[in-house]
């Protein structure tokens, strides 16, 4: 009985919130139009600044942090790691286009060989393994620092994630990510969209809610609550935990697809990571 009830809730939730599947371009347009109507006085590019687009007091404190931001420590460490050659003499620069610099706007992408979404963090570990090195843990530390450095070199570049309309597998991955965003989960029975779309403009306790568009531009992010720089997938883990759902693993197919959808929803925004958040 309970199970049926949950399924009905999920179904109604989906019907109420999820726009009809009309392809990525139309999804993006619909999402942008929604927020523009919802916040007519906010310049669209401001959505890249999360809650600081809405809260003047918090914004002033954020700008003070950005004057000499704690994430510069991670960026500098990341640069040193990035430039340290592997045991075989190769380095990260050999694995990536343009020597790994100024390329984050193209991530994540759909890889036709493996039929999976490849994120920047995954590509960093693939690079290590191809060169006979152990992969790094995803949640914190060296890999996050390298990702932060690569994001830093890509600042100001326009996000340009591709979901080719003639590639059914890529579309399926995008749709899976979209499905994830709109699916209720956890004991609180929230979807990502429950907060970030349905009640956007309100606050969760003291925090104004960020918009779906522009949501991923600033990762990896320095969270002052954690006192360290974290990846997008660690944020997904936290979001899922906060609605009392069992989180997925970093770089699981679920989170890779979610990143694919969510980053597509930030297409056209400039990368501004790393940035600091509360």
């Amino acid at each position: 009985m309970i199970r049926v009830f949950v399924i009905i809730l999920m179904a109604t939730g989906l019907l109420a919130t999820q726009p009809a599947s009309a392809g990525p371009e139309k999804d993006l347009q619909a999402m942008q139009d929604f927020y523009q109507k919802r916040f007519p006085n906010v310049a669209p590019e401001e959505f890249a600044n999360g809650l600081y687009a809405f809260d003047e007091g918090a914004r002033a404190q954020w700008l003070e942090l950005e004057d000499f931001p704690p994430y510069e420590i991670a960026v500098e460490e990341g640069e040193a790691y990035f430039n340290t050659p592997f045991a075989n003499g190769n380095s990260y620069a050999d694995c990536f286009e343009n020597n790994g610099l100024s390329i984050k706007q193209n991530y994540p992408y759909f890889d036709n060989d493996t039929s999976k979404v490849v994120t920047l963090e995954l590509a960093i570990n693939q690079c290590r393994e191809e060169n006979g090195e152990q992969p790094l843990p995803y949640l914190r530390g060296e890999l996050t620092a390298i990702s932060a450095y690569m994001a830093y070199t890509s600042r100001g570049n326009t996000i340009n994630v591709q979901v080719p309309n003639d590639n059914p597998k890529a579309l399926a991955a995008y749709d899976a990510g979209k499905q994830f965003y709109y699916s209720r989960r956890g004991q609180l029975n929230f979807s990502c969209s429950s907060c970030h779309v349905q009640v956007v403009g309100l606050s969760l306790r003291a925090d104004p809610i960020s918009t779906t568009v522009g949501q991923v531009t600033h990762f990896p992010a320095y969270r002052t609550v954690w006192g360290e720089i974290v990846t997008l997938h660690r944020r997904f883990v936290e979001c899922n935990s906060q609605v009392r759902a069992r989180p997925f693993e970093s770089q699981s197919d679920e989170y890779r697809n979610l990143e694919y959808f969510l980053t597509y929803m930030s297409n056209g925004f400039e990368l501004n990571g790393p940035s600091s958040r509360r």
Binding site: D67, F68, P70, E72, I73, E76, G227
Partner: protein
Amino acid sequence: MGKPIKIRAKMKGDIAEVKALMPHEMEAGFRRDPATNERVPAHYITDVVAQHNGDVVFTAYWGPAVSKNPFVSFSFLGAAVGDTINVHWRDNKGDSSAIEAVFK
């Protein structure tokens, strides 16, 4: 040896402005390690000293309530573009770090 201080030194008219970010845990000593339930011992920067031309131009005494990766900014007169500023810190465990920068 503590981690290197990050520093910016800039002349704004006749005012020399120094901003520094010091990678440091600034552990207050109240927290328990979730794994062992042991109290994490306090570990924080206690003193910061800045020198210009052999003069001490700024001293900071800190307790554990200064934020992790401390930031400080201060200003003084009597410096010029090209002069150097030294900033040093030490902490309650005897670690220390020092850096030198040139005013721009």
